[in-house]
Amino acid sequence: MTPFTYARAHDAAEAVRLGGEHAAKYLGGGTNLVDLLRETIEHPLSLIDVTGLSNAIEERKDGSLLIGAATRNTALASHRAVRVRYPMLSRALVAGASAQIRNMATVGGNILQRTRCTYFYDVDGSRCNKRNPGQGCDAIDGFNRIHAILGASSACVASHPSDMCVALTALGATVHLRSARGERTLPMTDVHRLPEGHPEIETLLEPGELITAVELPPLPMAARSTYRKVRDRASYAFALVSVAAAIEIEGDTVKDVRLALGGVAHKPWRAWKAEAALKGRPATPESFRAAAEAELADAAPLRDNAFKVELAKRTIVAVLAELMEMDA
């Protein structure tokens, strides 16, 4: 690690004042950033510890849920309102990492964690446009089983590793931001960006901007929702493909549906095409399959991950079928 100073922020105003300084970095639970510091991929001059900021989960009158960004993953997954009203989010959280890591990791840090592409971490031996812009990408022609099949570019094929973010994307969450210039919000679907020519720019956050909270909208249909993660071993592994889904049925017809995919793209992937293909259609396995086909029509697999295309389709169909079995 290169040397850095450490300061603990006591409130958001102090955090953004310190975080606005040159080469400052916010520190949550450290479960990704400490690793990146050790590998010298990140080399900030100062760390601003924001784990002392709000970790409150507020059930608001309009039915929304406001989650402080310092909330630990375990606390969020365990919260009664999340378990009952947004089960896909609890399921996504407990599918991620290990219990020890979930006890440490914060909501804000989870959103801003970086890819687990092995070439990105191989500082001495591999080229990476995300780590060294313009250098080239060794993953495109390398071992790319875990990499993206949707929305990638010739510069980067990394995938976003978060489970939590897939659920937040499906739920239509809003992320609250604060900087020295003021406060604003971004839809979860707009927080992360696709790599295009600049994979080193991963989010639409501005320098020094701090995630202060995540807001879940009132969404009654989310009570009938779940998250399924397909991975190389049964626990403690990143997703090859994951699906967060909620569905609302009226008669035999899909009245509304929410779908997002993990493990397939540089960002948590909202399946807009599949959702559009399903709304108003009969709630049948045939409709589910057609929607999955629509979503994956543009998939561009690499040498080692062509299996993900069919896996994603089948997982979408299986998860929607599982929701149909559930009591509404």
């Binding site: 690690m1 040397p3 400490v34 219990a99």
Partner: protein, 173 residues
């Protein structure tokens, strides 16, 4: 700036880069907590915060835990009596080389605390439940963050299941 380690107050290092794991091993010479992967993948460095919350000391900067109380494997025995989990690991041969054992035991202590608080896991079928029983599947899933390269999992699972059942019986009695 101080931190409590097994009940003893100690100064935090001036260098913010020192991990909690390196503070324990290199500065305080508490070698019970092990450095396996040093990247959050094995669980050998698991310690407890403020009495029961399990964390990975390799991924923690020591300065982040200023004012907190850390318990390591050296701090689990009380009045010369082994912790029930330590005793159960011996009885069930819950190890071969022993390198992962301190992390396994600290992790199991933290897991019991999570069960008391009804924290759900990946295999918890009903999220609305108010109590969670430590079934075989729950135990294996909840301990999946601790790897054992010797593959002594049968003994580990047996030890944790027995110690947990004994503790629960005492709590009910």
């Amino acid at each position: 700036m101080v931190i409590s380690i097994n009940g003893a107050q100690t100064d935090l290092p001036a260098d913010a880069r020192v991990s909690l794991l390196d503070l324990l091993r290199e500065h305080l010479h508490l070698f019970g907590t092990k450095k396996g992967c040093n990247q959050g993948a094995c669980g050998a460095c698991t310690v407890l915060v403020d009495g029961g919350e399990r964390i990975l000391s390799c991924m923690a900067l020591a300065v982040q835990y200023e004012g907190r109380a850390i318990t390591t494997i050296e701090g689990l025995a009380s009045n010369g009596e082994m912790h029930p989990l330590q005793r159960a690991f011996i009885e069930h041969d819950g190890f071969q080389c022993g390198y992962c054992t301190p992390g396994q035991i600290c992790s199991a202590v933290g897991m019991a605390d999570e069960l008391r608080r009804c924290v759900p896991s990946h295999v918890t079928a009903d999220l609305s439940t108010e109590t969670i029983a430590l079934t075989h599947d729950e135990l294996r899933e909840r301990m999946s963050g601790n790897l054992c390269r010797c593959g002594a999992y049968n003994g580990i699972v047996g030890a944790i299941a027995e110690a947990h059942a004994e503790t629960r019986a005492e709590e009910v009695a």
